[in-house]
Symmetry: C4
Subunit: 296 residues, 4 copies
Amino acid sequence: MTNEPLAPWQWPEDRWRNRVNKVRAGKSLTPPWPDNKRCAFALSFDVDHESNELRDGAKSLSRLSWGQYGQRRGLPRVVALLEKHGVTATFFVPAVIAQLYPDDQRAVRDAGHEIGIHGWIHELNSILPPDDERDVMMRSADMLEKILGVRAVGMRTPSWDFSDATLSIIREMGLLYDSSLMADDDCYELLEDGERTGVVELPVEWIRDDAPYFWMSRFEALRPHIGPKDVLDIFMREFEQAYEEGGMFQLTMHPHIIGYRSRIWIVEELIRAAKSKGDVWFATHEQIVRHAATAL
Amino acid sequence: MTNEPLAPWQWPEDRWRNRVNKVRAGKSLTPPWPDNKRCAFALSFDVDHESNELRDGAKSLSRLSWGQYGQRRGLPRVVALLEKHGVTATFFVPAVIAQLYPDDQRAVRDAGHEIGIHGWIHELNSILPPDDERDVMMRSADMLEKILGVRAVGMRTPSWDFSDATLSIIREMGLLYDSSLMADDDCYELLEDGERTGVVELPVEWIRDDAPYFWMSRFEALRPHIGPKDVLDIFMREFEQAYEEGGMFQLTMHPHIIGYRSRIWIVEELIRAAKSKGDVWFATHEQIVRHAATAL
Amino acid sequence: MTNEPLAPWQWPEDRWRNRVNKVRAGKSLTPPWPDNKRCAFALSFDVDHESNELRDGAKSLSRLSWGQYGQRRGLPRVVALLEKHGVTATFFVPAVIAQLYPDDQRAVRDAGHEIGIHGWIHELNSILPPDDERDVMMRSADMLEKILGVRAVGMRTPSWDFSDATLSIIREMGLLYDSSLMADDDCYELLEDGERTGVVELPVEWIRDDAPYFWMSRFEALRPHIGPKDVLDIFMREFEQAYEEGGMFQLTMHPHIIGYRSRIWIVEELIRAAKSKGDVWFATHEQIVRHAATAL
Amino acid sequence: MTNEPLAPWQWPEDRWRNRVNKVRAGKSLTPPWPDNKRCAFALSFDVDHESNELRDGAKSLSRLSWGQYGQRRGLPRVVALLEKHGVTATFFVPAVIAQLYPDDQRAVRDAGHEIGIHGWIHELNSILPPDDERDVMMRSADMLEKILGVRAVGMRTPSWDFSDATLSIIREMGLLYDSSLMADDDCYELLEDGERTGVVELPVEWIRDDAPYFWMSRFEALRPHIGPKDVLDIFMREFEQAYEEGGMFQLTMHPHIIGYRSRIWIVEELIRAAKSKGDVWFATHEQIVRHAATAL
């Protein structure tokens, strides 16, 4: 507050109006689902592995080993489960992780999944200078393309940390979509300073993320504070109501969080529940966004 | 403690006595419920939306998008649910939110609900200078009246943050009631410095609030740390015992917290349980206060 | 660590040995229970009310109102429940609270319960200078005697915060027992610097305390993070196994925590379970200590 | 960050590659289990008692008494339970605790259990100067040998805090194994700077540790935040899936955490479930490591 002459309750009207309008949900993009499907089912995995710890300075060998678990055990379990049920999903991969494990990413691509941008080293956009943010995002997209041979069309900001510069960089890069914001249950068009951008937001939510429930940080107060059965209950309620409403069910997970023996079954239960409906569209984020964009 | 020559264990008796008496519960206001009803059922929704983040400086676009979820999805779900069951409730709305979404507030009013004061931009009263607190509270009441055409009769302090000046401002404004303190299960008269004020308190409790259970703050240790079934269990026990005692069941919720697919059902279950009793009075806070005030 | 030339891993042996021996559990005091009872059942209530907030400087009127809830609603519910089942318990009361509500304490005494010392204003002993600690403890004991006409024989340190001076003050005061430490499930004799003191410890545990599960602190990360059913499950397992072992089941509660509509039933379920055994000794802390002391 | 000219997103490639390679999982060591067993069941107990508090400066007598509970009640319960079911386990003991309670350690040894190194006073390796870490680890191994007459072959770093120097010290000491890292579900060979070390890692996980669920710290936000039934559910799922996969189930516990009346049953339920399979290998960490090492 030191450089802030006015406290928020003293702000003039245009200040809070402009701030709310900086990046904002516009038109809801809810065309009927293809092939008479009633509901869309969109799984995503943020393949962070060691990058969380690298981003924080990589002091802890313990946490680096946790990250490696994601690569050795978590990701294979996730990929095998998706293959077992014939479900495609979207994997957001920091460029450093793609370079550490390029064969993993190619195998994911070859299995029919989408790979999206997830920053360079899981940096927090809001503490980067805008030029650095632009630079690392460009580098990240190029590196993924170099490794995979395809250009990513969508991005998820690391830690869903969307800076004031992020949307203009997305537009400059010509991306189809972002998946980091949370103003709706369904896709929507992003507005920047009140103007249409043509960029689709495929929204996320902490409620539908494995990390808030299961994260462990030894020297903070973060613990895996509810059990896997309760997490399944939450995810299932989100799905069942999405189905009732004919909307989209989107989930964010991480191989080094969900990929444990005591947790991976949650994903399988969700897939089974969705399969049993008979009219659920299992799709990558890109597929959903391309479909939603027809309503722009 | 730097400006504090005496530690609390050294305080003279009048110091702790005066402090306890500053604002305090007086007479219990428990006339029989109207129409031979056994129990009162008082739902309230604090329509904070983006104002939590604005109050904190509005740095995070992610949290602003979370607030917008409250407006796009949360509030419509809440209003539709209340309409479905024919239940009226009270909505406390910060003045900035009322200005951002005036049509929403008018629709809520037109549906028969009460709208109460909830500060200007969800400011924390206890860190405002008293003159600023008085000014924003006056401005907030005027703005709500300008938008809605009716003068609010009650207030809930944002974050239930009741300053040393709050009660005298309430009295100056001639409000019927406050709903931010927690000294009882039933309505009571507020005493200021030991004297009667005629102001009714309709008490709240963190136990009967959705935020303590479901709040998420990425860079703090706050997480949605119990599941929705457990939250329903707590609320239901509060209601069932209120019914047993012939008292009041009061609940505080927020569209951007309770309004999710995996949570909104909690409110419906509570309404159903109360309806099934046959002798529960569904009322706005204002209705309950006007009734309670007959016992002043 | 600024005044500490040696880190703990560099300490000489006598340093850690002396520290461990400063205050320590000695002889287990486990005579057979009287009247062929198999298990002792010892409920205690720390009647803190407003004193937690007073101790912290009393800035928040909201938290003072929470404390008053303990007096208006919590304590009456607790006392009525105990009377309903004919169970006696021990109430530890800060002297400031006893002065604010002397009639409450006399009514508790008249109902056959024990009242013990719980500091002056719920101060933290470990941050008091030893002379101040001694002074407030003496004042507290005198004040309780003045109000109640009986001299307390036991003490529970506020927040179980047992300073280096506490035990010597207890001995100087000639108290029979302390109930703030946790080295055993059963009563034991306290050793000071390796020597017997004749003071009985009736041990507590955070596991058998309502506060760790239900505490709420708006501006910290403390929340009521598990549901009442899970708390009952924990308490019941502690009791059932105490019964199996023929030991003591001790519980610490607070009127402003357990005394809510959604929680008070936990105590009743425990009492019912214990009553149904047929051979459980419901006793005050003093009764148990006087019995245990026969094994000194 | 003060001495850090480059932020992580600016690091050159060799910096993050070298950091990830500092200590890392190499070859998976998964020979078939002996005697046609399908799954290995490896219980471990970190016998920390008072050493957690000593490590932090030993200010709190309350927490020292908690530690003593581990010695008086927790450890005897654990040992009796293992004896009842004929299961052997591994106990990691800080040298200071071994000196405080040498008879306990000898009794554990005589019951057929393994005793491993767990630091001197539960120090955090990552804040020790490397020479101090080397010194205390050497002292710890010598002290255990002096008390027990056998040389420990494995180590668990206190708090799983594995410093940059830890692995080279392990190698210098000629230890067979470490059990502090978490890159896999099964044993693996540790690589240091990309080179094989011959040291086996028997991996741990916070998911399979009692402390993250049950820890209590009065003046932090750490609480026992899920109930024992939920903890059993997590452990059981880890075990059942380990059995399905034919892998290893490893668990880390602490006498002063798991050894309470309301928790010890969790261990018994796990043992019963494993026994009922008929083809589970109950083994100490050393036994498993010696077997795994045949695949090096």
